[in-house]
């Protein structure tokens, strides 16, 4: 009898890379739904564009690299990148923004570095930063929540404005951004920043129509939905708690410190946690395993540092939100963090396992 040979272990968990990626995608669904509800259907259109572009780019480059692209596409990592890009850019941004961003993310940031597992930077965030720097107008044209906007819009409007620049009724994006009083509405983070430069206190700014007491209308719900998805991922052990919790803690503690120092000048930690891409970042972006730290303590440091960077850039930087920048900055620090946070091996005394006794 001829026996098949294999190396131990012969048993394994029933969860492969593709499943993990898909679960992350599913967990993002509540957040996407909230975005649709408050900011229109644009995000779905972008999601389709980004997904198609991502899969096509991945397949093309893997074909050029003479790799098995079918298997690589099945791992859904490109889809996840596409999803993160789609939810990050303004819902009514032109279609080519998404295409350029996705091609850049998959082609340059991921595949040029060697494909899945080899990229130093988070592809979606690198693409986001590239787009933000290259096309600042389109990338900051966020719509106000539909309840506040003068013009309502539906899926057809979304498709139309993304591909032609105008809704079916001929409104442009800037027309959609004004409220019933004809005032262009900014995002909450933007509004607070602008308010501060105009000498208003934070609480004065929070009195604007786009706010709902402490946080922005719509934005709170979107963040809460992403938080929900994140908790699902934690519960399913798809992600470990280290990075999201430390990131949120880093952001909240820094914000609390300055808020307690001067609540007129600095927004509340609550505002920071539920504005912009905080929750999306914490549970879906920071947790990208490839470009993040790999040691237990390293993940805590990595997450916390991102939280602090987010606060610094939001508060004193030139951009309203900062998840992408903070993530890229810390991506660069990962090798250093990993090197200095190696765990103490069983039976070894010192933490620096590098200097551990060799046989």
């Amino acid at each position: 009898m001829k026996f098949a040979l294999a190396s131990s272990p012969h048993q394994r968990v029933n969860r492969d890379t593709g499943q993990i990626m898909r679960m992350v995608c599913y967990a993002a669904l509540p957040g996407i739904a909230m975005q649709c509800w408050f900011f229109g259907m644009g995000v779905l259109v972008h999601l389709l564009i980004a997904s198609a572009t991502a899969v096509a780019t991945e397949a093309l480059i893997l074909e050029l690299r003479k790799k098995d692209f079918e298997r690589a596409v099945k791992d859904c990592s490109a889809l996840l990148t596409a999803l993160l890009i789609a939810v990050s850019i303004p819902p009514f941004a032109p279609w080519w923004i998404t295409v350029i961003g996705t091609v850049f993310a998959i082609g340059v940031v991921k595949q040029l570095y060697g494909g899945l597992g080899f990229n130093l930077f988070n592809p979606a965030m690198a693409a986001y930063v590239m787009l933000l720097v290259s096309f600042p107008v389109q990338m900051t044209a966020w719509l106000p929540p539909q309840s506040l906007a003068e013009q309502s819009h539906n899926l057809m409007d979304a498709i139309s404005i993304i591909f032609s620049g105008f809704t079916t009724e001929g409104y442009s994006i800037s027309q959609l951004r004004v409220d019933v009083d004809g005032v262009t509405l900014a995002t909450p983070l933007d509004a607070v920043k602008t308010g501060l430069t105009q000498g208003k206190t934070v609480s004065e700014t929070l009195g604007l129509s786009i706010f709902n007491g402490a946080t922005g209308i719509g934005w709170f719900a979107v963040n809460a939905a992403f938080l929900l998805g994140g908790l699902f991922l934690l519960q399913q052990r798809v992600i470990s708690w280290h990075m999201p919790i430390s990131m949120l803690a880093g952001l909240a503690l820094t914000a609390s410190f300055f808020y307690l120092l001067d609540s007129d000048q600095y927004s509340s930690p609550w505002f920071h946690l539920f504005s912009g891409g905080a929750m999306l970042g914490a549970f879906f972006i920071v947790t990208d395993p490839v470009s993040g730290s790999t040691t237990r303590n390293g993940r805590l440091i990595f997450g916390a540092a991102i939280g602090i960077w987010v606060y610094i850039i939001r508060q004193w930087g030139g951009y309203p939100d900062a998840i992408a920048f903070a993530v890229l900055i810390m991506n660069m620090a990962v090798p250093l963090i990993d090197y200095y946070t190696q765990p103490r091996t069983y039976g070894h005394r010192s933490n620096s396992s590098n200097k551990g006794a060799r046989r």
Binding site: S7, D16, D75, L116, P289, G292, G347, A357
Partner: protein
């Protein structure tokens, strides 16, 4: 919390209160234990042939004690050795040795090992058993020897010879009896503990007698409540025995992990449990020790779990050592149809290895044969890129960074892999178990470890060769020096001896020199007076003529250097050259002599003083002489027509000679030098 400062009693109290430590990482694979632990350990009928490898433990094999054709009884030792790391193997049943040859081994490599093949006679007759029931009154060494002679090596998996651990030479604080059995599927220890708790207790008693530990901890995973109960009952009366349940988590049964869970201590990187005061024995080993001491039975059978989805009748059996896998498969009703391709795993699903052949025998460390159905095993060759998720690092019980080890092992950066403590990996497989990219991490580590060991061996070999070479070089150099020293001493001795004689010898030499000088002086004195004391110059002229004639003759005779044939007091060998002259030369000389006589007659009364110095000079160089000759000849020609013919002849000769002048001159000098030297 490297090493907790808790005292032994504190630790024991803590355990009594039900508190345990935890080890980092670990996984919770599906247990599948109920598949095989529902029925009692069964006796199986003997296989047609038993293949008993000579080496079934860590260490060295013993010497064969049997030969082909020999009848053996059950329990009869097949090998024997005085080596401390050797334990014997025994005939598992009575029968005939039909072959002693390399047989496929119970090893992942599938290599062959020297094995004794026994054909059972069906009688299963024991040899005379010699129990040591009164072991407590006996010398410990004798008990240890009995354990060794019973062929007992660790039945938990590593196969470390048990008698070596039984004489630790250090203070034993905790004797840990390992009944954790953390691998999925395996239930052999579980069934053994349930059914034979009392005998295990007896084995523990023997070990306590040998090791005198402060406390005994019997650790069983909490997924085996029946085993826990049975052991608790068996150990109820012993106050320093504690039966501990351990949280079910793989690999809690790993030696290092269990030490950590029970005592909070960590076995040092390259150390043994005894370094932290712990000695660990498997429950199966305790059972075997009890067998050896109280029944005198050597280790000839063990409990093997036959399990897996491809077996119709999964259960535990008492398998005589050497029973081939195929026999046990038929016992458990193997269903090949339930497997994609035949695959039998010896050991559990986490650390077991696939057997290469159906004839692979059950050996002392074989605790399980897992025959999984197609949906129970991982898909091979499904390796995908690492996404750096670090699930492996979270699962690693040794707090290693499996991902870094993987990168460096894959890239063959062995130094770096060692920097990440590759050799602290216990190959438990937790990392590969959780890996979502299905990377066979452990296989990479094994490969890297093997490469490093090979390199180390190569290096050792090279080092040994170098040392050998250098030793040889040093030896040769020493010999050479000794030789030279000897020669030098001999030379010195000779010199010394010679110096003693030297004084008279040098005196003799100087005497000889003085004599030679005096002689020379004499000859010179003789010649000069001759020239000067011939008032009428006839003799001088004759000499000149002789010289001339001689030179002429020499020139004719192929430029024979004239100087050598010149009659000169400095040339003692002149006569030799004269002898060598040919008859023709002599004739010519006669002619010349005639000419000279004529000349001499004519020159009578003339002052011939200057010819004498010319004659002298001619001894040294030909040119001057030639001039003087020309003078003489000119005089002779002008005055004597009668001898014109002779003169003409002489002239012709001279012309000849002048042509060869240059060459013969230089030849002269060299020849002279040569002759002088």
């Amino acid at each position: 919390m490297a090493i907790t400062p808790l005292s032994v009693e504190d630790i024991f109290d803590r355990l009594k209160r039900g508190k345990r430590w935890d080890f980092p990482g670990g996984v919770h694979p599906a247990e599948h234990k109920t598949l095989s632990n529902q029925s009692e350990i069964a006796r199986v009928k003997l296989a047609d042939k038993l293949y008993i490898p000579l080496k079934q433990h860590i260490g060295v094999e013993g010497e064969l004690q049997v030969s082909v054709g020999q009848k053996v009884l059950k329990g009869q030792p097949l090998t024997h050795s005085a080596h401390p790391f050797a334990v014997p193997v025994h005939a598992s049943t009575s029968g005939t040795v039909v072959d002693i040859a390399p047989q496929v081994a119970a090893h992942p490599s599938g290599l062959s090992e020297l094995s004794v093949v026994i054909e059972p006679d069906g009688i299963d007759q024991w040899i005379d058993l010699k129990p040591l029931s009164n072991y407590q009154e006996m010398d410990k060494a004798q008990v240890v020897e009995a354990i060794c002679d019973a062929g007992i090596s660790g039945l938990g998996g590593a196969g470390f010879p048990s008698h070596i651990k039984a004489q630790p030479g250090k203070n034993v604080e905790f004797l840990v009896i390992n009944g954790v059995e953390c691998e999925p599927y395996i239930t052999s220890d579980d069934r053994l503990m349930r059914e034979h708790a009392w005998q295990i207790r007896q084995g523990i008693d023997v070990l306590v007698h040998l090791l005198a530990p402060r406390h005994v901890i019997i650790a069983v995973e909490d997924n085996k409540p029946e085993a826990l109960d049975a052991l608790s009952v068996a150990c109820r009366d012993a106050s320093n025995y504690l039966v501990c349940d351990v949280a079910t988590k793989y690999p809690a049964g790993g030696e290092k992990q269990l030490v950590q869970v029970l005592t909070g201590r960590e076995v040092p990187g390259q150390g043994l449990p005894i370094d932290v005061g712990v000695i660990m024995y498997n429950v199966g080993t305790c059972f075997a020790i009890a067998d050896a001491i109280f029944s005198g039975k050597p280790l000839v059978e063990r409990v093997v779990t036959l399990t897996g989805g491809a077996l119709n009748k999964p259960h535990n059996v008492w398998a005589p050592l050497g029973t081939p896998v195929e026999h046990l498969l038929s016992v458990a009703e193997y269903q090949p149809g339930k497997q994609a391709s035949p695959r039998v795993i010896m050991g559990g699903p986490m650390m077991g290895f696939t057997v290469t052949d159906a004839r692979v025998p059950v050996v002392k460390i074989t605790n399980c044969l897992l025959v999984p159905s197609v949906d129970e095993v991982r898909n091979d060759n499904a390796e995908q890129p690492c996404i750096r998720c670090s699930a492996c690092a979270d699962a690693c019980p040794a707090s290693l960074l499996p991902q870094q080890l993987y990168w460096h092992s894959k890239a063959a950066e062995l130094d770096k892999a060692q920097d990440y403590n590759l050799f602290d990996c216990i190959e438990c497989g937790a990392c590969a178990y959780v890996c979502p990219s299905e990377i066979p991490l452990v296989q990479y580590y094994r490969q890297a470890k093997a490469d490093i060991r090979n390199q180390r061996d190569e290096k050792d070999k090279a080092e040994r060769a170098k040392r050998r070479f250098e030793a040889r070089k040093a030896r040769l150099e020493a010999e050479q020096q000794a030789r030279e020293e000897k020669h030098r001493k001999a030379a010195e001795a000779r010199k010394q001896a010679m110096q003693n004689k030297d004084t008279d010898k040098s005196a003799r030499v100087s005497d000889a020199i003085a004599r030679a000088k005096a002689k020379k002086q004499q000859t010179e004195n003789v010649t000069e007076p001759v020239a000067e004391t011939q008032p009428k110059n006839a003799a001088v002229a004759a000499a000149i003529a002789r010289a001339k004639a001689k030179r002429a003759a020499q020139t004719d005779a192929e430029k024979k250097p004239e100087a050598t044939v010149q009659p000169s007091p400095a040339h003692n060998h002149e006569s030799d050259n004269d002898d060598a002259e040919s008859a023709a030369q002599r004739k010519q000389r006669q002619i010349a002599a005639a000419v000279a006589r004529a000349k001499a007659k004519k020159q009578q009364g003339q002052d011939v003083n200057k010819t004498t110095p010319a004659q002298h000079k001619s001894d040294e160089a030909g040119n001057n002489e030639q001039q003087s000759e020309q003078d003489i000849q000119r005089q002779a020609e002008s005055k004597q027509q009668r001898i014109a013919a002779a003169v003409a002849r002489a002239k012709a000769k001279k012309a000849n000679r002048q042509q060869a002048q240059n060459t013969s001159d230089s030849d002269d000098v060299t020849e002279e030098k040569n002759s002088q030297s």
